[in-house]
């Protein structure tokens, strides 16, 4: 019997969430130990017997039995979830209570509870994301450090500290309280958005890791739909954005494994199913008066998805959406993307002028694609020397080998004589080299 890919990792999140609900958030470590134990047993037994018919159910049952043992044995020594104490104390109610928490719907709610708990206001955003990945997605410290290109020690510190805050918060987030729920929901959206972006734009070189981060963010976002309080227009918009971006992932690398810019991608490799799903979700997101940054980003992605060829892109509409995004969540990166769209519609000089006008432009100094954008626009204006200098600066900021290779190719492209008048799109390396 073949196991689902990442089965253990996913089950880890489900089991920890449920066990923490029963044990109480102060016993998070105990919950993690029980999960580790269940995996060890699975490893030993399945090695010899093969995987059971329903591996998830086997793991859950193993964790449940172990939890019952602990609840019986440690009843006097430990305090479990305070609101459950009287149910856990008596043998009459212990098993039925625990059974109830291991029912599929309860497990879903527990994951939601944990997700909201991880987005604790006392934790900085990057700590929330790391905690979600660790607790709900079953990533080890090493795996998170690998995905974020951080040092093991730094991530370990971040997670240990965050767990302390979580364990010290006395109880898990109460998802039944409408006011609290709505107040915390934007932080949860933001964490999932950052998790997705880390996968999509992040600094990690290993493409497999990045795709997995995107998938995890999408999986957690679907948990939100199933809860009436979480199924808001912004939730649908966030998911729409994720689907529409994820649809482009298969084309981000070309046949030789090199990074491929949006304008250059083989659009037939975009995932049509995800685009359709994204469009559907975007439609669902338009049900209220709320306009979130996710609505705007999803709408921009939808316009790109509509254009069968880059030349057919409706740049005017994209610029208008970037204007809106600048009002909702202004940032130098958004301003840069807006300037690039303007260059596509009105020519490179206008684009360069827009870039020069960006407030806090110095905040982009560590961002390789800022220099790359300057390089492309200067190149298209015929300023080869200036363009080459920008591409060199961009190469210095490259965060991984793939970006470096891509930017080196662009630097080289400044040497090649390209015939005048070639409509070289922004970040469109191959077209420039093969006029």
């Amino acid at each position: 019997m073949q196991l689902d890919e990442h089965l253990f990792r996913r089950e880890a999140g489900r089991m920890v969430a449920t066990l923490t609900r029963i044990f109480g958030v102060q016993n998070l470590t105990l919950a993690e130990d029980v999960v580790q134990d269940a995996f060890c047993r699975a490893l030993e037994v399945w090695k010899f017997r093969g995987a059971p018919e329903n591996p998830s159910a086997w793991l859950m049952a193993t964790a449940k039995n172990r939890a019952l043992d602990i609840l019986r044995r440690e009843r006097t020594a430990l305090t479990f979830a305070p609101e459950l104490t009287r149910w856990l104390e008596s043998e009459w109610t212990l098993r039925p209570t625990v059974e109830e928490f291991f029912a599929p719907n309860a497990i879903k709610d527990d994951q939601l509870r944990m997700m909201f708990s991880c987005c604790h206001p006392r934790l900085p955003e990057e700590a929330q994301v790391a905690l979600v990945l660790h607790i709900l997605c079953g990533f080890s410290v090493d795996e998170i450090a690998g995905a974020f290109v951080s040092k093991h020690a730094a991530i370990e510190k971040r997670i240990t500290r965050s767990k302390k805050v979580l364990a010290g918060s006395n109880r898990l987030f109460e998802i039944a309280d409408e006011a609290d729920f709505s107040a915390r929901l934007p932080a949860v959206h933001r964490a999932l958005y950052l998790l997705f972006n880390e996968g999509y734009h992040g600094a990690s070189a290993e493409s497999a890791v990045r795709v997995e981060l995107c998938q995890e963010a999408m999986r957690l976002a679907t948990l939100l739909f199933d809860h009436p309080l979480a199924a808001t227009p912004a939730t649908f918009a966030l998911s729409a954005m994720m689907c529409l971006h994820a649809a482009r992932l298969p084309a981000r690398l070309d046949a030789s494994g090199n990074l491929s810019a949006l304008a250059d991608q083989d659009r037939s490799r975009w995932n049509a199913k995800l685009i359709a799903e994204g469009r559907k979700l975007l439609g669902q997101s338009a049900s209220g008066i709320e306009l979130s940054e996710y609505h705007v980003e999803a709408a921009i992605a939808a316009i790109h998805a509509e254009a069968a060829r880059v030349e057919e892109t409706d740049w005017g509409q994209i610029i208008a959406l970037y204007d809106t995004l600048m009002r909702l969540r202004p940032s130098p990166v958004v301003a840069l993307n807006r300037a690039i769209a303007i260059a596509q519609r009105d020519g490179p000089e206008r684009g360069l002028a827009e870039i020069r006008a960006i407030a806090d432009v110095e905040r982009l100094n560590a961002y390789p694609f800022y220099f790359a954008a300057l390089g492309e626009l200067e190149l298209r204006s015929g300023h080869r020397e200036i363009a080459r200098a920008h591409f060199r600066a961009a190469t210095k900021q490259a965060r991984n080998a793939m970006e470096r290779r891509f930017l080196e190719q662009r630097t080289d492209a400044c040497e090649v004589q390209s015939s005048a008048g070639v409509p070289a799109g922004i970040l469109r390396p191959r077209r420039l080299r093969q006029p």
Binding site: H6, R9, E11, L43, E44, V45, K47, F48, G138
Partner: protein
């Protein structure tokens, strides 16, 4: 054809616990290896895993103590019954065992012929 017992022995290392993803990968390697032996007709019986706890009964006094496992450098985690032409082939088969990746060992012991 002769029969051999494979005893899977693990050293208890202080290494940090594996991540769920790593454990799944380890298990899939084991399952693939067992399946391969089965398909080649080499696996007479997949055998059993053994708990890490137990008792040892010893001496004329028949004293019962908790297993010596806490101090043991390596403990037997399980066994399988394998069929091979000779010890050389049995050893050859054992080389595919994923246990080596985690620093464990396989003890290959011929079953005495009666």
């Amino acid at each position: 054809m002769s029969e051999f017992v494979f005893l899977y022995r693990n050293e208890l290392t202080g290494a940090p616990p594996a991540s769920p993803e790593q454990m799944q990968q380890t298990m899939q390697k084991w399952m693939a290896w067992m399946k391969e032996m089965g398909e080649k007709g080499q696996l007479k019986n997949a055998g059993h895993p053994l708990e890490r706890t137990g008792k040892v009964v010893k001496g004329k006094q028949k004293t019962v103590v908790d297993g010596p496992f806490a101090e043991a450098k390596d403990i037997i985690g399980g066994y399988s019954l394998v069929e091979a032409n000779d010890i050389a082939q049995a050893v050859e088969i054992s080389l595919g065992c994923p246990i080596f990746e985690s620093g464990g060992m396989v003890e290959v012991r011929p079953v005495m012929k009666m």
